[in-house]
Point group: C2
Chain length 199, copies 2
Amino acid sequence: MARTPAPGTRRRILEASAKLFGEQGVRAVGMQQVIDATGVGKSLLYREFASKDELIAAWLRESDAQWWEQAEEVTAPHSGDPARQIMALMEFFQASVREPDFHGCIYYNTSSEFRDPAHPGRQEATLHLKGLRNWLRDMGAQAGAEDPDALADTLMLVIGGLLANGEVLGVDGPARMALATAELVLRQHCPNALAGAAL
Amino acid sequence: MARTPAPGTRRRILEASAKLFGEQGVRAVGMQQVIDATGVGKSLLYREFASKDELIAAWLRESDAQWWEQAEEVTAPHSGDPARQIMALMEFFQASVREPDFHGCIYYNTSSEFRDPAHPGRQEATLHLKGLRNWLRDMGAQAGAEDPDALADTLMLVIGGLLANGEVLGVDGPARMALATAELVLRQHCPNALAGAAL
DNA sequence: GTCTATAGTGCGATAGAC
DNA sequence: GTCTATCGCACTATAGAC
């Protein structure tokens, strides 16, 4: 009888949003652009996402989930060796920054576009970054760090600097030093980590 | 009997812009807000700055000049000891991030709001950050760094991370580790730097 | 003040699944 | 043909640049 709801609409909207928001920034992209890019109608877009803010938040939530999936893939081979897992994640960051279509970290970028802590997009961004910091702290603790919080904060320095500078100054310099610095920091905090072998 | 142009109009506009742009971000602030905040008329504003983009660029240029003045003040006492000058600048960054009205680095923030390399605001931001990196490289070279470019890139990692994370995650963690990390990096690159004394 | 753009609403037309 | 998902467009209201 009735027409079947097209599957994957939400996904298509999110993918188009991810591309546009990621490349140009959130405030620079209008809902009309999202509509044009998806071919979806305005009514359907607003049925899926009640407002632009909600779309922004959903995009970041989705990206967070996907990011952690990739992080899992990248660190899994080193399961049981937390220091090496941390380094694997740092390599993953380095590779991301080197992607030709790298346009900066969507979480830092969105935070800088929305300063209000109550903004849904900013909240998702903060959640992601806090989650990352927690992961680093927990891994650091497992790796025998004497002060896992300090280690996590320091690695966040390296990560934040890599992502921020990579976008503005070009990727070569920051990406060149990020791994070595992370390793230096890691060895500093975890006396027995990364024993022997080079990276 | 023509009225004399009020002096300092341009300055007043720039000061109001600095406050608004800095606190809320550039795209979040309309020209009307700048007008309301200065009390200046629309025509006068547009006589001083032909467009919003030009105002953005002028604000960043002005901020850059003021920033270097402060940097000069902060590093001058250590003239002749480049490693300590670098550390003084890092302390200056740490203090900035700890200011109660810290809202992130205006250069990183503006870069993330305007991705087009041709945008005047982005160009000023890039210029500032390149200038900073150059200063670090030159000081590093004077301090005896074996690879001053690597040192500069690494310190930019710490600075970028401090500013980016300070805005999103709160200032305590990043600020706590930035100095120690900078010192670690500096000692790593300059064998004879910071000899003896603690920070 | 003017003109454009944007977020968001609502409706008639159309495209498909049965 | 019927029924509904969805498109496309017209519309409002607000805000922005200039």
